[in-house]
Structure formats: C-alpha cells, structure tokens
C-alpha cells in the first residue's frame, strides 16, 4: 500500500461542504429564511420601533423584542439542518468525512445567513424610523455596534440550534425541543422579567441576557430619558386637594418652562442599571459572553455528532 497517499484534510473538506451548502441555498430554498426574517423584523419594529433608543422603557422593550427576533431567526436557520440528513452524515463519516469539517462548513454558511438577516433587520429598522444611537461605543458608529450585537445574538442562537440538531436524531424531536429553548431564553433574559436568587443566576447561561445587556449598553440606556414617572404623574393630574389641582399646576408650570425633557432625563438617572452601562469594557464583556456560549455550542455539536456511528441501524 502506498503510504504517501493523502486525502482531503479538514480545511479542504470544509470547502467541499461549504460549496454544497451554498448550492443547496439555491436549490433547497434556504433563501426563504431571509424574507421570513424581514417580515418578522418589520412586525416588531412597527410595534416597538418608535421609542427604541429614545426612552429607557422603549429601549428595554424594543431591545428585548429585537433579541427575540434574532433568537427566532437563529433557531429557525439551523434547527433541522443536521438531523434531517443524519443518515447521510453517517454514511459520509463512514467514508472519511471529518465531522469537524462538516460542522465548520455549517458554521460558515450559517454565519453568512445570520449576517444577511442582521443587515435586513437593520435596514428595516432604519426604514421604520428607528433612531439608532449617533455615537458608537466600540466602532464609533451606533448602528454598527447594534449590528454587531444583533449578529452575535443571531449566530449564537443559530449555533445553539445547530447543537440541538446534532444531538437529536429526528426533526420531530428537534422541533419539539425548540419551543422549550425559546421560552427558556425569553424568560431567563433577566432584563425584562424580574428574577431573583437562583433564577437570576441561571441568566448567565442565556444568550438573551447578554444580548439584552449588550443592546441596552450600545443603545446608551442609562443616558436616556425615563417617561414612566412623568406619565404616572400625568395620569393623576386631575386629583383635587382642598379645591386645587396641585399636580396639574406643577405639570403646566414645567411645560411652560420647557423643562419636561430635563425632568425626564433627571428621572432616568434614578433608573440606571449597572448591566447597561455604556462603556467599551461592558459591551466587550457582553459580546465575549455571547461568543463564549457560541463556542461551547459548537464544541458540544461536534462532540455529539462524532458519536453518530453509535446510531443503531
């Protein structure tokens, strides 16, 4: 036997599979995830876009909605990609395919999809009149920082779904698991729902928590105005006290002096959160946490798929 015969290594195989996936993007209608992502982003920005990056409340709600969009997109991109062709993967692994090359090709392909979805989401936000922060924290451009955050969240969710797809054996199981993961991500995001104790500790394991913190940080949440206090006072403006309406008097006085915004920004300073502080250090910490989770998902995916030979006939 010729000992010098070499076969395609991991890098070479990665490109073979990448080519295959790109062809299947066209033939298999994978492109449909792009318009689907656009529709979801449109609906969300239509509902929460007006106050996103304008008020603290609007930013928190909008950021949470955007995180949901990203996770949804990421999950749907890859939840079935491996399990639907598990038999084929097993055959090809038996014939010399490296699992790491296969997963790497999936990663690169999915990254492209996520990038396209992020660009689409940003374009739709822009068209819907979302006011992105002028000043970025890392890149100098606010929209770029938001874009990187959305891309990281989408890709992390995508890799989590890829991991599930590598672990489970059928598409039915994958689609059964997915809603649980989605709910877990949403409930344990930590920012939107008030959590305490052990439940709060769990949030470190979720993409949504780091994604929400990151979006709020790049959106300069702590520097925005808070409207809840003013709106609440406004609701009580007609309350009478000894024949007068003191709250209405105060409201009118503030409005006459043009100090409403000052009040709103002042009240916002009492509603700041450490997790949302707009420093490069904090943003990088959040991005790093998402990247770390992504890395863990990829490693688990590769390990799980390496066990494919144990599948029973």
């Amino acid at each position: 036997m010729n000992e010098n015969i070499r076969h395609k290594g991991r890098v070479g195989q990665t490109f073979i599979y990448l080519g295959k996936l790109l062809r299947m993007f066209v033939y298999q209608s994978d492109w449909k995830v792009l318009p689907m992502g656009a529709i979801i982003a449109s609906v969300v920005t239509f509902v929460v876009g007006a106050n996103l990056f304008v008020t603290q409340e609007g930013t928190l709600m909008g950021a949470f909605a955007l995180v949901c969009v990203c996770i949804w997109n990421g999950f749907f991109n890859s939840i079935q990609v491996v399990c639907r062709e598990r038999g084929i993967v097993k055959r090809e692994h038996r014939s010399g395919m490296h699992i790491s090359s296969y997963v790497m090709a999936q990663m690169i392909y999915q990254f492209m999809l996520c990038l396209a979805q992020t660009v689409i989401t940003l374009v739709i936000c822009n068209l819907s009149g979302v006011q992105f922060p002028q000043q970025g924290i890392i890149s100098g451009q606010g929209i770029l920082d938001v874009g990187v955050t959305l891309l990281l969240i989408t890709f992390a969710a995508d890799m989590m779904a890829l991991m599930v797809s590598c672990v489970v054996r059928t598409t039915t199981t994958a689609m059964t698991v997915m809603p649980f993961l989605l709910i877990f991500q949403l409930v344990f995001s930590g920012g939107f729902f008030q959590l305490a104790g052990f439940a709060k500790k769990i949030t470190v394991l979720t993409i949504s928590r780091w994604g929400l913190d990151s979006l709020c940080a790049v959106g300069r949440y702590n520097e925005l105005k808070m409207v809840t206090l003013w709106n609440t006072i406004f609701k009580f403006k007609d309350i009478e006290f000894e024949g007068t309406k003191p709250l209405l008097d105060v409201i009118l006085q503030v409005q006459e002096q043009g100090k409403v915004d000052d009040i709103l920004y002042w009240s916002g300073t009492y509603n700041t959160r450490d997790a949302f502080v707009s420093t490069a250090e904090n943003v990088l910490k959040n991005w790093g946490a998402i990247a770390l989770l992504t890395f863990v998902f990829i490693v688990v995916a590769i390990i799980a798929l390496k066990l494919i030979d144990r599948d029973k006939r």
Binding site: M1, I5, R6, H7, K8, G9, G12, Q13, I16, G19, K20, R23, M24, Y27, Q28, E85, G87, I88, K90, R91, E92, R94, S95, G96, M97, G197, F198, A199, D309, R313
Partner: protein, 457 residues
Amino acid sequence: MEQIQQQVVNNLSILIQWFLFSVALQRVLRKMGGKKTWMAYVPGLRYLALSERLDMEKDGVVCAVLDALSVIAVLVNLTVAIDMSERVSLAMALIQLVVIVALFVFRIRFFLALIRAFDMKKRWIILWLIAEWLTLMIIGFGKKFQPVAVGRIHEDWEAGTAPAEIPGVRSPGGRAMSNTGLSVDLRERTVKELFEKRYLLKDIALDIPNGSLVLLLGGSGAGKTTFVNALIGYEKADATVLLNGADVYKDYDRMKYRIGFVPQQNLIRGNDTVQHTVTDAAELRLPAQMPNAERDEKVTEVMDLLGLTAGADGLVCKKSGGQLRRISIAMELVTDPELFVLDEPDSGLDGVIAREIFTKLRGIADEGKIVIVITHTPDRVIDLFDKVIVLAKDSGRVGRLAFYGSPQEARDFFGKDTMEGVVMSVNRKEEGGEGLADECIERYAKMTAEKEEGVRA
C-alpha cells in the same frame, strides 16, 4: 404521636407493596424464561428485565430511568427532612408529577404488552389500575396464566447467549491467510446486552479472489449486514481481515478509502445536482494529490458506466428509484475501491432495472475488484455471480457460515434448484424454512476440513 403512627403505617404499606410487586414480577419473569430474575427487586433494572422479554427495549430504558427517579424521590420523602424554599419544593413537586405521569403511561404500555404475551382479556387492566401488585401476583402464581408463545419468548431471551456446539466447526486461526483478494478469519462478533455477552456471528473463514462477484445470502437476522460491517471494518469483530495483504482493522483509516459500501437506503442529498454529488464524493475520497483533470475524467468514466451522464445537471430528488441507486453506487465506485459491498442494491427496483444494475456490477468485478452483494431476489441474476456465501442462524441463534462456493456448488450442496430454496433450507421452521442450519453448518465444516486435508496431503 398520631401523625407519626400514620407516617409509619404509610411507609410500611409502601414497603409491603414494593415487596409484593417484586415477588410477583420475579414469578412473571421466570414464567417468560431467561436469567437474572433477581432484577425484579431492583428499581430501574426490573423494567429493563421485563422490556427484554416483551421486546420493548427502548421503552424499557426510559421506564428504568423514570422508575429509579421515582424510587429515589420516595426514599428522600421517607428518610430525609429537607428544608427547601417554597420555589424549590414547588419545582421538585412539579418534576415528581411529570415523572409519575410519564411512568404511569409507560407502565400501561408494559401491562398491555404483558396482556398480549399472556393472551389475557383487556379488562384485566381495571384490576391492574387498582392494585398493580395483586394483578402481577395473579399472573405470576396463577397456573392458568402462561405466556402464549413461551418457547419463542424464551428463545428470544436466550438468542445468541450460547452458540450451538456443532461438531467439526473450528474457530478460525492458524490457517495461512491469502495475501491476494479478501481473506477473512472471523472468530466472533459479540455485543454486550444487559451485562450479558451475545454472539452475533461466529467462526467464519473464507478467501475471496479478486475479480469475484459474490452473493451474500441468509435469512432475516442471519447476520448479513453485521458480517458486512465487520468485513469492511466499520463495526469491528474479533477477526482478521486482509484485503490484498493489508490489514483492514489495523490500518482502517487508510483502508476505508479502498473499500466502498453502498447502504440499503439511498442516503444522498436530494437538493444537489447528480454531477456535483458524484464530484464531491470523488473530491472527498480520492487522493488529494490526484490532478483535477484526472479526477474529472474518473467522474465522467463512472457516470458513463452507470448511465448517469444524461441529466447529470438535474437535481438528485428528481431522479427515479433506479437512477438513485445508480447515483449511490457511483458515489462509492468513483473512488475505485478494491472491495465493493452493496446492501440490497436492487431493493424496490423492477427486474429489468435490477438486472441492468447487476450487469454493471459484473463489469466492475471483471476489472479485478471484489464485489459483495446482499439481495433478497438472487435468482433473477444468479448467472452473473461467481461465488455464494450462505449465512445461517444456528440453533443458538448465532450467525455461522453454512456455505461458501460457486452457485452450482451451492445448488448441489443444498440439493436445491434456486438460491431462494437454499435460504429456505437454512431458515428456521418458525420462519417457514426447513430448519437445517445446524446440519448444513456441520456438513460445510466437514467438507472444508476434508478439502484442507486433501490440499495438505
């Protein structure tokens, strides 16, 4: 004081029910045959033992885990007073509830299977729902309750645990293995199941010369696919397999590129073109040093040979069953394997297309390669084959070599006109066969020994 007394009574009641359930289950397991009936007393394992007898292994594993969890929960409740926060205890209660509900469903499944095994009326389930242990007691100790197919169940349980002692059959080893073609010395292929060694294959020795088209025959469960997987090194056995002098097991990472295996199903991506599918397979498996032009030439040659050139740019999912089989074959053939194994390449195909595929395989063998084929409809193409391997389950339900030789020799050996007749003669009587497996294995072993002695003399 009254509360403590009540607690003691409850605990005692749980223990007594567990004991009665275990005793009854042991009796039921004994009636159904097999060993390790003590498992009836071990939470978790008891369902594994039952599942093996009822052919519900998958459910058995899930049920064993749930059973073990529920018992742990009961023990914790009985023995440990844990001061848990309200949320944690709520979560624990929720988990316990899920376990109890799931276990209940699985127990119903098991009981329904037990009803079938003992040919009982379905109304027994009412008593079972009220008192599980009592129902099991009645089934276990009642003389009129016997498994309807006790022999069959017992045999399944024993299958593969003890290979039949057949006179004249020797374990391979010590013979001079051939350095050309495929030389196999398979001593045994076993698996561990529930702490027990089970034999799937035993004592198979044969040499296949290059350029042979070989038919692999055997009844259902005779171990054909297991044998093939062992042969190509995918599922290793206690064996030595030499392919043109190279050890398949010791050098599997290199040898796998010299072996082609076409599985029973068409495991091909539908949404890619035929051309790209075959080209990608060539790129993956042919030597990296091979120039692109040479590789493309190889792809074209194989596609021409298998009649795939027309419509090569079409999507795989648009192709017919016959074309899919040919694409599947092309993916392996393009790598120019020395050993080519095909698991039912003609399944689902009509006679004309099947014949066409086998004719192509004949051509491939004529190029000096070894082609081994499993098929359930051999007679329509038997004239194309050089050799026949017949695997048969011995009386211990272990796959053994019942014959290896030319098709004509096979007809003479078994006294049958057709290959289907050959399979029927070694199949078990329960499967509609003649049940001559042990006899044929013994006769073939003697015949081989005589031949070897003749060669030595």
